[in-house]
């Protein structure tokens, strides 16, 4: 039921932002609490969408689903790229570089193996 808490927050946020400010370049910093609540909203709503969508996947396709979701968990590559590319400290960039390598193994491995499996499920031409 926790996800229901996110809904009014999301609605208030959307209602509270007038359109002109939405597209203008606002420089005022967001306060930490509302930034956290914004991400929490996104987290809970995405979890909910995930539950709704994935319960409809048939059991026959659960292995490709696992490997495909594996590839998507490689999204952490985004964080890795930013921290590696910012070259802020040597050690930080080294860790970032390793993270890029590991995340990209995840991404490439996941998508390719999922494709390989799904190809096997296609009707064969005789």
């Amino acid at each position: 039921m926790t996800f229901l808490l996110g809904l009014p927050v999301a609605a208030l946020q959307i209602a509270g932002v007038p359109l002109p400010t939405l597209l203008a370049e606002v420089t005022a910093a967001e306060d930490p609490a509302s930034r956290f609540i914004r991400l929490l909203t996104v987290f809970l709503l995405a979890m909910w969408v995930g539950f709704e969508v994935i319960t409809k996947v048939p059991q026959r396709l659960h292995t490709p689903l696992t490997s495909g979701s594996n590839a998507i968990s490689g999204i952490t590559a985004v964080g890795a790229i930013v921290v590696a590319g910012s070259l802020a400290t040597r050690f930080g960039s080294l860790l970032g570089f390793l993270a890029v390598v590991l995340a990209m193994i995840n991404v490439a491995g996941g998508f390719v193996v999922t494709h390989r499996m799904l190809e096997m499920f296609q009707p064969k031409k005789k």
Partner: protein, 478 residues
């Protein structure tokens, strides 16, 4: 619009593509498209990440070096990943998925570690220490912990699935609960410490080490039969680690993609637990209990009938509808292709042949379907349990190959059985049941199977693959 707004828009597009990708996973044809869309979303997100201002500022001051570094990492990782994906055999899919889960978790933990290192360096330069209990501090600690648990748990799961000698046996030290409890307590203390003193990189790496140890000790006691649950759970963790990393760097695409994967893993975990009739806590902490059960002699005494290939071939020649029930034993014997040939021989005579797949057949969710699809068995003929169970009374012959507990009618009839209430394939309702098995040895649950002694059951004692080949030969001769 600022350039950051465009980058965020790209992240939004990527998030939407991920959701559509999951949505299209409902059918084998659309799933191919879904996989492409997922890859497209990932490419968009990766390109947008390269345009983020910390990277672009460095590009203007240092030239293309930051992008070269990132590109090099991406090429190395991509090459390793693609090679693994193309080389790994389908029977080894669970191991490969376990490894990838581990790498995903490790990547998230490294991102958190690198962010913390950079942030403390910047804080030292500005002489303003990091504030305790901020979103950054808490999320960094949580990401490090989940990432480390995922990495080490996955490596142990990989070792178990590869059947490496040291990991083959489940770890059943009676003190393991105390070891786990003290490790967990220490981990939580360090987690608390890191949130309170976020400038301490040492605490972060201590947390990673403790989390890693906890990941090992939590996975080591889990038996081979429970591996599907562990894989799903680790899959979920790798997503949650990515989502937590999104809280560290304040990025919603990480949060969205991570929680989608987290949700997917949790659903699969629940489905696997239900199909095995076990609670998640039972899988994680119980180990397989040693319950006292009906002795095999009482169940089987004098009631087991065995038959030869010729007798079974005669039976199959008169059958209008045959259902094949494959278990993991079939995959171990590499008998998928032999089974397809048997089905082809039967279909040539006008018999309908279908396959009944239990949710836990194989070593990860849906594994058996992939193994049969690899042997060119059409997707439409692979039927799920709930779908095929009502049709068993109209089935002339059910052939059980390498499956045991998932066809044990005791789950339905004996409330005292350890598998009572577990959903099973109702093969005993077919007119005749043929069980291909080497001996009467019990399955993972360690209990005798009354199906083998039923009036309508014929046992065919033989090695799985050879049995199927002999059967096919007998049918083609007859």
């Amino acid at each position: 619009m600022s350039s950051q707004a465009w980058i965020n828009l790209a992240y939004l597009a990527a998030s939407m593509l991920f959701i559509v990708a999951f949505k299209l996973m409902t059918g084998p044809r659309t799933a191919v498209k879904g996989n492409y869309l997922g890859a497209a979303g990932m490419s968009i997100a990766v390109l947008a990440a390269c345009c983020e201002s910390p990277v672009m500022e460095r590009v203007t001051t240092h030239g293309a070096w930051p992008l070269v570094l990132v590109g090099l990492g991406a090429v190395i990782g991509g090459a390793i990943g693609a090679t693994m994906a193309l080389k790994y055999p389908m029977t080894g899919m669970p191991q490969m998925v376990a490894l990838l889960n581990g790498f995903g978790g490790a990547a998230s933990a490294l991102v958190a570690g690198a962010e913390l290192w950079n942030a403390t360096a910047a804080a030292k330069a500005a002489a303003t220490p990091l504030d305790p209990w901020t979103q950054f501090a808490i999320a960094t600690a949580v990401t490090g912990l989940i990432g480390a648990v995922t990495l080490c748990g996955s490596l142990v799961a990989f070792a178990k699935l590869e059947e490496l000698p040291r990991f083959k046996q489940a770890w059943t030290d009676p003190n393991r609960h105390w070891i786990n409890l003290s490790l967990a307590t220490a981990t939580l203390l360090v987690l608390w410490g890191l949130c309170a003193f976020p400038s301490s990189n040492i605490l972060f790496w201590l947390l990673v080490i403790l989390g890693g140890a906890l990941g090992c000790t939590l996975t080591m006691p889990i038996g081979g039969a429970d591996m599907p649950v562990v894989i799903c759970l680790l899959n979920s963790y790798s997503g949650l680690a990515a989502a937590a990393a999104g809280f560290v760097i304040d990025n919603s695409v990480l949060v969205i993609a991570g929680s989608l994967v987290g949700a997917s893993g949790l659903i699969l975990t629940a489905i696997m637990c239900q199909a095995m009739n076990r609670s998640l806590l039972g899988v994680l902490f119980g180990g397989l209990g040693t319950t006292t059960i009906a002795s095999a002699d009482d169940v089987y005494a004098g009631k087991v009938k065995s038959a030869s290939a010729e007798e079974i071939a005669m039976l199959l020649e008169g059958a209008g509808r045959v259902v094949i029930v494959p278990g993991y034993g079939l995959a171990v014997a590499q008998a998928q292709h032999a089974v397809r040939e048997l089905a082809a021989a039967l279909e040539k005579r006008g018999t309908t042949v279908e396959y009944a797949i239990h949710p836990v057949a194989g070593r990860m969710p849906g594994h058996m379907n992939v193994l049969l699809a690899e042997a060119d068995i059409p997707y439409e003929k692979l039927r799920e349990m709930d779908d095929i169970n009502p049709t068993f009374p109209e089935t002339d012959v059910a052939i059980v190959i390498g499956a045991n507990d998932v066809v044990n009618p005791a789950a339905r009839t004996d409330p005292k059985s350890p598998i009572a209430g577990m959903p099973i394939l109702d093969v005993d309702k077919a007119r005749t049941v043929v069980v291909v098995k080497r001996s009467l040895s019990p399955g993972f649950a360690g209990i005798p199977n009354p199906l083998f002694a039923a009036d309508n059951t014929l046992m065919y004692f033989a090695d799985g693959k050879k049995a199927i080949l002999d059967l096919t030969a007998a049918i083609e001769k007859g």
